[in-house]
Subunit: 430 residues, 2 copies
């Protein structure tokens, strides 16, 4: 019956007024400075809001259970700690509002939704919550909650819009941030965040060459990620090294700690000494390489998004093991991530029909990675600290002559979670 | 041509001898104490090994590129640091061995595979590697590398075989580990690892009630996972708490830090003081609850494996956000993981047709979680430290009377990566 009425709904344009009531079978048009011109249509299981032709998306749907669940009033979300005070499982099934009306609040238009009693399961600690409840929903807030796949993807991507670079391009536009500015001001930190957001690579200059200074630099972004290498670690040539990084050998392009569930999002390498011959640092934007692969060899690209590579570390009293594809695209939380560390690959564990295609695709990807035009090479000076997005930018090092002088870098990691947290709280968005 | 020859292959049984040659078009049967009775059949792109009827799996296939890539000789894998010295992308495409033969080494049978020159891409640092190469492959090692989906899944699951429990069952079988034994011996640590592996819950007794002792306990398993709560944190009732945990209120069953990419695998709560009325600790095996849901309400179970829940933390200068389904099953690295923390759920971002089913399924899951039979309740005593698998075992706390005494727990986290690492290196397997 309701369905039929809804189908028969007509557009009723009305002037702006307080407490405009939306009939179960009707649509109202609403004008405001914030929402511009919205139309709210009440359906059987949800409301449909037309935000106007210039909005993106132009129309959103909100399920009634969702609306009850996500009431933001102080009885539903704790006003100081922002924790939800009921669970999604407490929402009565198939609930419908008794009424929905539009009210003009001081901060713009709101939907006033009256719920019947019993809209939430009773709870001993929250006696009032099974009573009739009114949700006052900020229309501007609601517009940001559209949960269509496109809108969700758009929000996911809003933090990042990577600028793909090759060696020349990075060389021409490179900018560094002075340590004092970076360490002591949000503005300096914001500059570094922007570089990392767009290019995945950032240089801090004139940092004190103190042993653990790298941890102070890292802590500007969040917590230091401690691993079995320590909170920070030395990169220098030592005898009987447990890791090729700790020799003077050429160190091919790679990423660190691919055998962890969440490999660190940021890596810091702080140069304390560098008087050797050789030992240039090398960086490459793997996202650029993926774009080339995707365009030139779409099948190989597709194989590398499908075939899980096994990463492991079996050494020095540890045995780590984690499987993930080389290229992870468009997942619930990220637009793109790349995982690449050949020395730490274990025997491939992939479906038989994908093994041959994997070797072909991986070779093609590496052909692109070997293009010297893609790499940015530079020599770290004492006091430089390079920061890079470890799941985007590959790093490597040219061989050096260990007898020709001293080379000592100090490294540290920070999680991607923390980096994104900082982007959000400092509102560093495109 | 080769294909035709292979098709025409026949079973040629031969007595054990050194250097038994496997013809391109033939099969040899090989007997040994380790491999028992194996048959190796050379195909166009791979070898096929029959391990014998009692082996599981009874037959494995190994692609030639895979075999070349995973040669374990000291030229291919660094003998001390175990890093691979070439990349999978270096393997020549469509390579085929010149010969494969079976040799009896001191440690059991090996396959001797002769590769033509150019089987790896030339590299300046490894001049010998483009020459002809011989791989000597330990048959016992090879058998463990089967990469069929079943074998890979079997290996993934080998670390764990959870025993699902309810309150009574846990109460009857509960075992604790004495602090001294745990902190000072691998045997004590192994006991704790076994409890956590099987039940996801373990109690250490008689720990010193020192403020940061929980970090010493945590470090037995790996690195302390530092978060914005610190390396360890206080659970006690404080005014204007930023988190409901830091009040005296009833704290519903939940898991911690679901808004991180890799929520900590282990949580530690060390009791320093507990003289209040109330404040029981409550634990529930969510894997048991999932089993019930899966059996009784398979559709709801399926919905909870599909619909990503948004977890967030927007408070105190932080804004974290991560989406993941409530139940994650059979992924590349884990058999099962559960993610549940209603107070930290943000507005659901799910496809429209799944929103209604999600509310129904989530309510059904919580109906199971509310069954008091599933919960194990106990009162932590000063000196007790409870450890639980944070992505399996839900924890909560009964309300307490803050005026009746003191209650002070100290908490810490360790990553799941580290826990699995320890299981592997101490060889704590089923």
């Amino acid at each position: 019956m309701l369905k039929r009425l809804t189908k028969a709904s007509v557009l009723l344009c009305g002037a702006l007024r307080h407490g405009q009531f939306i009939h179960q079978h009707g649509i109202r048009t609403f004008h405001s400075t914030i929402a511009s011109k919205i139309k709210v249509d009440r359906k059987d299981t949800h409301i449909e809001i037309q935000w106007g032709p210039s909005a993106s998306p132009s129309c959103s749907k909100f399920n009634y259970s969702w609306l009850r669940d996500n009431c933001q009033c102080p009885l539903c979300v704790h006003p100081s700690n922002r924790q939800k005070l009921h669970s999604s499982g407490d929402v009565a099934l198939s609930i419908k509002p008794e009424s929905i009306s539009i009210v003009e609040g001081g901060n713009g238009p709101h939907l006033e939704i009256k719920w019947p009693s019993g809209s939430l399961r009773p709870h001993a600690n929250h006696r009032s919550r099974s009573e009739a409840h009114t949700s006052v929903v900020d229309v501007a807030w609601l517009q940001k909650q559209d949960y269509s796949p496109q809108a969700v993807r758009q929000r996911r991507n809003a933090l990042f819009k990577p600028v793909y670079w090759d060696g020349d391009m990075y060389d021409q536009r490179k900018r560094s941030v002075d340590y004092q500015h970076f360490i002591s001001s949000n503005d300096g930190l914001r500059k570094a965040l922007e570089e990392l957001r767009d290019y995945g690579l950032c240089f801090i200059r004139n940092a004190p060459t103190k042993d653990k200074e790298v941890e102070n630099i890292g802590r500007r972004f969040g917590c230091i990620r401690e691993t079995f290498y320590g909170t920070s670690w030395d990169v220098k040539s030592i005898p009987d090294a447990k890791n090729i990084a700790y020799t003077s050998l050429d160190l091919g392009l790679h990423m660190d700690l691919m055998y962890f569930e969440a490999p660190p999002g940021l890596q810091f390498l702080h140069c304390l000494k560098n008087s050797v011959t050789g030992g240039e640092s090398i960086f490459l934007d793997s996202f650029k390489a993926v774009e080339i692969l995707k365009t030139m060899h779409p099948e190989d690209y597709s194989v590398l998004t499908q075939v899980p590579v096994t990463f492991h570390y079996i050494n020095d009293g540890h045995h780590m093991h984690f499987r993930r594809p080389t290229i992870v695209e468009d997942d619930l939380n990220e637009q793109r991530m790349v995982y690449y560390a050949p020395p730490f690959q274990g025997p491939l564990e992939a479906e038989e029909h994908l093994v041959g295609p994997f070797y072909k695709a991986f070779a093609k990807f590496e052909e692109i990675l070997r293009d010297p035009k893609l790499t940015y090479r530079m020599l770290l000076q004492p006091g430089d600290c390079v920061i890079f997005a470890n799941r985007r930018v590959l790093h490597g090092r040219a061989e050096f002559d260990a007898a020709s002088g001293d080379r000592h870098l100090k490294g540290a990691y920070v999680d991607w979670d923390d980096f994104k947290d900082k982007l959000r709280v400092l509102d560093v968005r495109k």
